[in-house]
Symmetry: C2
Subunit: 283 residues, 2 copies
């Protein structure tokens, strides 16, 4: 039976570190502050906002919400971003996406200054993740994959990692971050042939396809670590499931992150740590 890589203990450890950093910042006169920019009232956004606000409150990070109506104009949105860029008391900005369709999301992302881009949505942050140089942050979920592996001391240097999924939110940035830890990363995607062969030859498998319970017994072998980033609602089971068939995988591999309760439990902790880092860099 696989070791279960729960997110909560990793989040708890990271939060303790972040709280210390925030208290040090406050002692030197800097109050870390996250701005949340939300257009409309999408339930997913509101739910994550509530979780992020609770996390920040527990870590003594201030939160400022900027709420715009669903029918807000592009100019109104850009003005709000400009104001947050200018406001030196704001260290990080979380802008929920997707934006309503009438808005130019790409232009909005690009307006944000990369130094405040704590969820990695600007091209500046992308260049940072890709090159290792410059201002910006990785997307929180991609960073959460790394943090989970770090917490459970899974070796990465020189090891083979298969990342399944090449999105800009998870797959691609996770691949670059893992390479930054000197892993040998294979980036797999919907056009990959012989996926099972590739995943079976990896030491670590990161599943971020966004397809429920797709990675199963045939794709895995003994000794592996599997991080499941997927999250879907199973009509059949009436519960949340990941991209990995948990019951099958847990009989085979050495370590496996659950869904829910795995990577997802770490995202607000990562967000808070990014705000602290941004505040430190602003000093």
């Amino acid at each position: 039976m696989a070791e279960i890589l729960k997110g909560a203990p990793a989040a708890k450890a990271l939060n303790a570190e972040t709280l210390q950093r925030v208290q040090d910042l406050r002692a030197s006169g800097v109050v870390p502050k996250l701005a949340i920019l939300r257009v409309g009232e999408r339930p997913d956004d509101v739910a994550y906002e509530t979780a992020a606000m609770k996390r920040c409150a527990s870590l003594e990070i201030e939160v400022q919400r900027v709420l715009l109506p669903t029918d807000c104009g592009q100019d109104e949105l850009l003005s709000a971003i400009d104001a947050l860029n200018r406001d030196e008391s704001v260290h990080g900005v979380l802008m929920f996406r997707p934006l309503p369709k009438h808005l130019d999301e790409n232009a909005a992302c690009e307006r944000l200054h990369p130094s405040k881009d704590v969820d990695g949505i600007t091209s500046g942050s992308m260049a940072k993740v890709y090159s290792g140089v410059g201002a910006g942050f990785a997307p929180c979920t991609a960073q959460a994959v790394l943090e989970l592996l770090r917490h459970y001391e899974i070796p990465l240097q020189g090891k083979r990692v298969a990342v399944i999924g090449r999105s800009l939110v998870i797959g691609r940035p996770a691949a670059m971050l893992l390479m930054g830890e000197n892993a040998t990363v294979t980036l797999c995607h919907s056009k990959t042939e012989n996926l099972s062969e590739i995943t079976r030859s990896a030491d670590v498998v990161v599943a971020a396809l966004g397809k429920a319970e797709t990675i199963g017994a045939d794709d895995l072998r003994a000794g592996q670590t599997v991080v499941d980033v997927g999250i879907s609602f199973s009509e059949e089971k009436q519960c949340l499931v990941g991209d990995v068939d948990f019951d099958a995988a847990s009989q085979i591999v050495a370590a496996l992150s659950p869904v829910p309760g795995g990577v997802g439990s770490l995202t607000t902790a990562i967000l808070a740590s990014h705000v602290a880092q941004s505040a430190e860099q602003s000093e």
Copy 2:
């Protein structure tokens, strides 16, 4: 005996395409122009400049040289870049690197507008290569790897590619471009364990380690395509050699690019095509 993937025929085909594009641009009143910004008189820079000027002349692309002395100041350099950014008649800028040590190379790169960054040195170009979105270009050598494979109609979709070397000039951008062609890419580097196993399981191997004749018989198998991006001077052989042991590899694999006369023969053709593309985008 392997098919030899010579660069010259691929360059010739690409140059014919570029010439047509340039002539179409000129017919519509746009004269494509490359600016070459060179600080000092490094022999490598001067040699490449001569080749680039000759290539551009043959393709009816204008070239403007901006030559600064080795002891030029940072302000002088940045002013020169600003002037090229402002000049609407300039469509691409090639700035030679490394710059003399007293200059801030990163700041100079970032000053250039990504839309004129025809050799992919700005963070904007890096974000473009990584994300597929935005302004900018891939570094010419990385693009040359793709062009060589395209010219010889080597299948990439769904195929396994091992890229050896993770530099920002070749390995990383080549990996992203190959993924853009739906290849499944493994990015290998100095910390990779069991490199031979990985390269042998690939359909295409791109060698960009920068270590003379390092990839040999043990790393390769029948049926593969090998692109050799390395270029070193062998004291023993008194000639230029690649990262691949050509004599050994050519007995094993299906197709192999030579050094010299492979990827390197394509870089000025790629540079010229980027200038034409930038001029088209400026219309």
